[in-house]
Symmetry: C2
Subunit: 617 residues, 2 copies
């Protein structure tokens, strides 16, 4: 099995050209001297969870934010790390493959070798299972040659997403000790980075010298919070999907006789669907977050789509493109409840044939109402994170089926007078996530790889590598690291088997912020998109020329730079301290006291509003 | 409805850049003076059908081949057309949208205006229905501006594929007369060009002055014969599909746990599947033509795939990518027979619920054996060309289902000892055919548009525009025209409702030539592809740099240049005539007689072998 990994491959011409692309580094990471500035100790975003988080992570909670600065940066307290001993670092791919993952390894390898040619990087073969089994491959320039700027995770492979059970954590610990690792870099999404945090804490408890570092790589784009603006792989996935969606839009406009229902991979949250909508302007998108917030039922959704079909028919339009996130199905309240019941029974070992009869009466009624193909998919065993097997549930077919039935009913009743409704269904996912990574993802991943080295060089444990100000050019990017625990929240309620995670601190997939600017942009254009067919065609993924340097629309419209503002605030506080030094005038001191008293009052009141679950972004 | 058509659109940056791309013209079409050389009168490829074809097309059968040459070409009999009166030409999109279609219109418009600025081009809005209803849009430079080198058919739209019934033909005739058209250009595939030929004959009978010209535009690549090397749209479709297939291959190699079954759009023939295999090297492809030739049953295919899965499991490989053409399902003998029975009953008006009970016992047994989702898809009403609704029948799911069942059986019996078999199914079609066209398709379509003008300027009726020697650079392309009737064959046998076309001359979709070089290339590599995962990633469609100038592999490996050889032969015959002039020596004459007598004997014998239905290519 190992023989597949890390082998040199024959590249196509475009792959060869891509393998020669050298991502830029932001100024702070150029050269071999980097200044590390430690910011304030971090808290958890959700104050009500802070206590639980601090108890769960006694050794790693409350660590400071870290900024990496140019050696020449004029920051008084920053350290310059000048001694770079040879270190051994392990790296593992966790979770679903995302375009750009290979560049994290390349960046890390490059940084290691620049600072000490005797440092070594070992990759674990076959993901977390390779970590447990200590199957490794030493990463060299030769091995990297045909994987630079290339898609997939096939340099090392991946298996399961989990490093969670006691047995798994102990195997990981044993591997790190046996291989004498100074650092372990975990490349993954929400679940994998939660595991990374737990591993960091366990290692600290066990006095294992290996420091654990996480890297935000997930095509879902749902590892998003104050410190993380976007994830490696999200840009590429959205670009490839948008290419295909706009091809379908062109198709719709040419024949004018089909409604295309397209489901997009992206797990629970609807980031991919939102981004693709803003890139390609299909007629409609139904975000899971909207459905959750408005508690829309399957019938509401059917009616909503039928009304749109009818409004378009009134304008003599019989085609359209509708996007659905794969997580939509779990956002529909009555379907979610049904899935929770089914998953509960499955976990109890109830056989498939008996599930229906053991459901509560209302759940059974809903189940029997559904078409057979969906019933079968609902009976699939849930994933390790308690969610349904979203990639297997054909929500697009279910909705197309319900809409067709409803339109036919309206046709009979005479309330719809248009032509026959025809649907074509698609699922876009696997065909995007193996793509050659976009320039943005190549750069972002490579820089994150470099940051991983600096985190380890600074001796930090339980941190996630971060780059902020990403919407600006690479030379404006800010590099840093944030303790993973500072991104955690604690769920206090929930139902069904998923309730097992209640009360445990974890990273949770960030939902699309319905108060954010990206969603606002969608709302402003929704009617125009729906009625006017203003399809936009960003074209196939390019590496040069127009569009090659495009970044996610959602990244660019949001005003994120949280890390920049944290720094700015520090500067203001320092300035006040400098002005109001002992010896300053009484009046100045009085004014400062009065002003700061009012500021602290306002902030105390604001902080006491419990966070409603929406991650600010 | 018309309001959608021909409107200027806002283009994305890459679309804008593409719209500025100016396709090259081969030397023979440059400038305003083109020499027209008439070759020998054409026959039909299938001698046994020639009589029927000549009877069906008394006015248009037997017309000569036409070559367009440089004004300076030294060909004695060629005419130079110097008088270019203003003409009115109509153009209509027929059948499925193929990338590049818009460029035929652009090329035609450009040629018309270059030769006489008073000439006019009118497009029919909404395909053949627009033709019948005389809904037109005058094509101008302004209107073309945002459609140059762009995908889809949305400049004019399309509807049905047919101009066939007496009513339809009469409507088309009335439209051409009412609009005073000198020419009608029909852009389409096999079906549409058969209709174009019929229309040309009818117009000739009715003494309608409108000349009919066909253009080979179909993503299926199945309008292929001595005169036509490939079709507009095929290159783009295969490139976009190959991009997605290689992404899936990368995905397979990263997780190593899924078998991907990918069905490709392309109608009856397997050209798209073959080309995509040669571009992206998936583990396996099952061509409909192979299955037909070997009469493989559903069980044979299942066994074949299971054996491959087992062989790979022996090497500890549990992933793979298998391509299936959408036409495969009809190539499986027992399934074809079942579909024919079902279609017969559907045409008789038997209700869906009663179909199963009215099938012959063996057909009923097969039907009941199939999973419910496939049964439902088999009951769909057949297409206008008598084939099943291939885009709706999920053959990939059927095979994945059967393979899974068989592997589980082998697992129980202990003959398969590997890990669980997991399949993921995809259908790639609609998402490719709306793509921005490749450079090759842009060029090919534009040149064909120019040729349409020259066909009309030469007063020809019932011709298809042709470009040969396509695998060489544009400046080596040979431009010509061939009577559509010369490409026809007559089917003499068949069963089921499809039998209605028996005895009628028509263009038939060319099957993949199992004796051709492209198929040979596949066979040579089949084992390596199957076992060694030599996946090739041609990357996303590019317009510049590596891969941008790539052409279909199947086009490049085949040694086609039929038109070039026809010309060469003419040159040899002329040379003999020049040498053996009256007055030459007795010996020379005797030698010539003897040699030519032997040549004619050999050729007579060879020609009498009835064509076995395989199109030489």
């Amino acid at each position: 099995m190992d023989s597949d990994y890390g082998i040199p491959r024959e590249l196509s011409d475009i792959q060869k050209l891509r393998s020669t692309y050298q991502p830029q580094l932001p100024p702070c990471l150029q050269g071999t001297t980097v200044r590390v500035e430690f910011g304030d100790a971090t808290t958890a975003e959700d104050p009500s969870g802070a206590h639980t988080i601090s108890r769960t992570f006694p050794h790693t909670y409350g660590q400071p934010l870290v900024h990496f600065l140019r050696a020449t940066a004029k920051v008084p307290d920053a350290q310059i790390i000048t001694f770079h001993p040879a270190i051994r670092v392990g790296v593992v791919f966790c979770g679903r493959q995302s375009p750009g993952g290979h560049n994290v390894i390349w960046g890390l390898h490059n940084a290691l070798k620049i600072h000490n040619p005797n440092s070594a990087l070992v990759g674990f073969l076959g993901g977390s299972e390779g970590l447990f089994a200590q199957r490794t491959l030493e990463i060299t320039d030769d091995i990297l040659a045909t994987y630079k700027n290339q898609g997939g995770y096939d340099l090392l492979g991946r298996t399961k997403d989990q490093i969670r059970t006691t047995e798994q954590v102990n195997s990981a610990l044993a591997a790190c000790i046996a291989l004498k690792l100074d650092g372990l870099v975990i490349i993954g999404g929400v679940t994998s980075n939660t595991d990374a945090a737990q591993l960091a804490e366990t290692f600290a408890v066990e006095k294992c010298p290996t420091k654990v570092v996480g890297v935000p790589v997930t095509l879902n784009g749902d590892l998003k919070n104050q410190f993380v603006e976007t994830n490696v792989g999200f840009d590429t996935t959205c670009k490839v999907n948008s290419q295909l969606i706009s091809n379908v839009c062109t198709d719709a406009l040419s024949a004018e006789k089909y409604y295309y229902f397209i489901r997009l991979m992206g797990r629970k949250a609807s980031h991919v669907a939102l981004e693709c909508t803003l890139q390609s302007h299909p007629n409609s998108v139904i975000l899971g977050e909207e459905v959750s917030a408005s508690k829309l039922t399957l019938f509401d959704l059917t009616k909503q789509i039928c009304d749109a079909v009818q409004a378009r028919a009134d304008q003599d339009k019989y085609h359209g493109v509708i996007l659905l996130p794969e997580g939509l199905i779990e956002s529909i309240p009555e379907v979610h409840a049904l899935l929770q019941e089914i998953h509960g029974l499955l976990r109890q070992g109830v056989s498939l044939d008996n599930i229906s009869s053991q459901l509560t009466p209302w759940a059974s009624a809903l189940f029997e109402f559904l078409p057979p193909f969906i019933r079968k998919q609902f009976l699939l065993f849930p994933e390790s994170d308690d969610s349904a097997q979203l990639s297997q549930i054909e929500t697009e077919k279910l909705l197309a089926h319900l809409v067709e039935a409803e339109i036919n009913k309206r046709l009979k009743e005479g309330t719809y007078k248009g032509k026959k409704f025809n649907a074509i269904c698609h699922f876009f996912g696997y065909q995007a996530r193996g793509s050659l990574p976009s320039k943005f993802d190549c750069d972002y991943a490579y820089v994150l790889g470099h940051i991983c080295y600096h985190i380890l060089a600074a001796g930090l444990n339980g941190y996630l590598a971060t780059v902020t100000n990403l919407k600006n050019p690479v030379n404006k990017w800010r590099c840093g690291a944030a303790p993973i625990m500072a991104m955690m929240t604690v769920k206090h309620y929930g139902r069904g088997p998923g309730a097992s995670s209640i009360g445990k601190p974890a990273l949770h997939p960030a939902a699309v912020d319905l108060r954010g600017k990206a969603y606002e942009l969608l709302r402003q254009n929704a009617t125009k998109f729906l009625m006017d067919d203003v399809y936009r065609n960003p074209g196939p993924l390019q590496f040069d020329g127009p569009g090659a340097d495009a970044k996610p629309v959602t990244l660019c419209v949001e005003d994120q730079d949280y890390m920049g503002r944290i720094k700015k605030l520090q500067e203001y506080l320092d300035k006040v301290r400098t002005i109001v030094k002992p010896g300053c005038s009484q009046d100045v001191l009085k004014a400062a006291l009065s002003a700061m008293s009012s500021v602290t009052d306002i902030l105390s009141v604001m902080s006491s509003f419990s966070n409603s679950g929406q991650t600010p972004s």
